[in-house]
Symmetry: C2
Subunit: 430 residues, 2 copies
């Protein structure tokens, strides 16, 4: 056996506690697997007295996490504090400056500072590991970086937020509205008390930016992610989607296009016969596409103490085993800077739902606007018949450009017979 | 950049040719990703003159693959010859004896000799890599060995043969019988001219034995795999399965039980709401279950030149990058020997279809036999009503033991009203 690997853990929330519990419970197995003892030496958290259900008595305690990161006898600093800046960034920079390995579950930190941290880590010889930051229990970063290393990936996309997927799944299953299902998700612990980061798509955007950086060998560009959450998805649209052979999923999609790097997070209609259509509840899934492999789909739990601790420990064991690959597949100094493909250039089919007064000529007016913007209508269905009353008109298009679609919707909204803002949901070719 | 990595490739079928084509086409990208040039130096095959659509002129040619494996200037020997013994084994043993890395796509070789090859490789310091041998394009071995290293896996199972999955998918989609669909699969290149290895489940059993060895840290026991193929699956049963909310899939399932190691490959009924129910055509999928992760599902193409070459090159790049983990997760000398759990001890629900003459008392006779064997019937449906004629009786059971089920079926078959051997298909709790 090699010398023990000395670990310091900063942040003792549910993930930190589960990481320690697993390291204790599986100590012998893990040592056999990596050929050395994984030795937790020090921990740090805000509240020393809280009962976390684990025995911390044999670990050195630090009130200040950066002091733990600087401690001379620690080989691997595990950052489980969270937040893009502040203490978490301080801990990361301190560990890397000291040439220690940094293992983190912090997607915000990596989405904002991943490229520069990787550059620093290469200079100091540190390992920078963040498998737990994207899709937790699914080892997707290792798969992209190592398992699919032979591939020039064309597109990477997935269901990257379990809270949103749970809400959409429950809305479809029960027919209930967004607010009721969100409250239930909060009661069950599937949504945070402050759910905005999840339901507005920011969490998924963090993960997508990291995936894109790794998949395409580019500098992370979180600011370039077009982001729209699930707050405005209605039970009505979920029902119409089903009638049309689709389900609505919040996807993150990244692709290199002729216009630049496309990164977008928004509700999508996906066909029932595609793999992601059947990924339900709190499960996440990531799809990588390339010419040699066609596609590889990875599905698992993208959040929670167990799945996240599993990924944190996998990173620790990579360090223990000496498994070292560039954080973003190529050296950080080789990462290319990509311009952002404007969302207006996006091309694809669209679903549009209009609330219109049921009277002669309305469909003709709408059709004329779509024709003038060169938007080819694939299907147009008026739901119900109620002369003089408001009815739904649902239409789907063939591939068309977002810029024209936006202009058409602005024009349609101005029609006297149209009583509400049009609902537009992009249909994805998967 | 480090020194170039010298590669010798033995076997130039479709996988060998695609591996070389990709290494040539992506040479620069791969060098950036692994920090050194991947330099093919030598090749070997039976027929030097065949046109493989690639330029081999700059590579040294060997008529005898073991000579290539022994060549002093080769760092990595890539064995793509196939077969559990003979030349492939000779090449593997020669490479390992010389301390070279061995990369192989040969599942038969590893299923039969994997443990002893791993022991030899550890003695000589060789890397032993066989990602391409299981589910080709899906990097499942890396995921089990590294990505999920923190987990004590409870069960590993999957759709491990694309030919069988294609046949079952097409039988269900078209309602046609096994023989017609097999012929079509052969015409399309999805089934071999000599399809027995695939359709009788042997290929899936090879892969399952390798997965089980790695997942549970045990010596590979290919002989202990209970194996039954898809030859006897009928369109009738596929239809009844669908009526009952199931699909029929050929699964490989491995689990450590109180009776020993359970390894079985056979047609299974899986519920429509489980992930594997939607893995269609030539796709493969593997599911790993453990307490921390719940489950991780990996789906992709399990055969074909592109997916297999992708895995071969991933193994080569692991060697280039110095990524080295024990072939079966722990050192080969630590692998435990497990006894085989007898199939008679298998417990689960069952689907049974009987062909019986429609007359009073038959159902009572069948029910009595099941009752006497303590087999709890969940549903029993006579399909059609045709007094005096032969009709189908379909029944499903709650969990019961295979030994009792087999005795019951033997007894049922002896009833005068039963006109054919009963059909039994196991229902899987997934």
């Amino acid at each position: 056996m090699s010398a023990p690997l000395a670990i310091g853990i900063a942040g003792l929330g549910t993930v930190g506690a589960e990481t320690i519990r697993l390291l204790q419970a599986e100590a012998e197995t893990l040592a056999r697997r990596c050929g050395r003892v994984v030795d937790v030496r020090a921990v740090s958290a805000r509240d020393r007295d809280r009962d976390r259900g684990i025995d911390l008595s044999s670990y050195r305690w630090y009130n200040a996490a950066p002091d733990l990161a600087a401690a001379g006898d620690i080989d691997v600093v595990v950052e489980l504090i969270g937040g893009a800046d502040g203490v978490a960034l301080d801990v990361a920079e301190t560990a890397i400056a000291a040439g220690k390995a940094l293992v983190t579950a912090n997607k915000a930190l990596i989405a904002h500072h991943g490229t520069s941290l990787a550059e620093r880590a290469e200079r100091t010889g540190s390992a920078l590991c963040f498998e737990a930051g994207v899709a937790a229990g699914i080892p997707v970063l290792k798969v992209l970086r190592e398992g699919l290393v032979a591939n020039r990936l064309g597109r990477v996309y997935g269901i990257l937020n379990g809270t949103c997927n749970y809400i959409l799944t429950e809305m479809e299953r029960t027919g209930r509205g967004f607010d009721a299902v969100l409250r239930e998700a909060q009661d069950k612990g599937y949504a945070e008390a402050e759910p905005d980061f999840d339901i507005d798509g920011v969490d998924a955007a963090h993960k997508l930016a990291i995936l894109a950086g790794l998949a395409f060998g580019i500098r992370i560009d979180f600011a370039g992610v077009y982001t729209q959450g699930v707050r405005h998805v209605s039970a009505v649209d979920i029902g119409f989607a089903r009638d049309l052979g689709f389900r609505i999923k919040l996807l993150g999609i990244a692709r290199l296009t002729e216009h630049g790097l496309e990164q977008r997070v928004h509700p999508c209609m996906v066909r029932l016969d595609t793999p992601l259509a059947h990924v339900d509840g709190t499960f996440n899934a990531v799809v990588a596409e390339g010419p040699a492999i066609d596609r590889v789909v990875l599905e698992g739990l993208g959040a929670g103490a167990g799945p996240t601790a599993s990924a944190v420990i996998a990173d620790i064991l990579d360090v223990a085993r000496g498994v070292r690959t560039p954080a973003f597949s190529v050296p950080a100094t080789d990462l290319a800077a990509c311009s952002t493909a404007p969302m207006e250039c996006h091309t694809g089919p669209y679903y549009v739902r209009l609330s219109v007064v049921d009277r002669p000529g309305v469909i003709a007016d709408i059709s004329a606007i779509f024709r003038d913007e060169k938007l080819s209508i694939e299907s147009l269905i008026q739901r119900g018949r109620a002369p003089g009353e408001v009815v739904s008109v649902v239409l789907t298009t063939h591939d068309c450009e977002e810029a024209g679609m936006r202009r058409a919707l602005t024009a349609v909204e101005k029609l006297a017979a149209v009583t509400e803002s049009p609902v537009m949901i992009r249909i994805e070719h998967l």
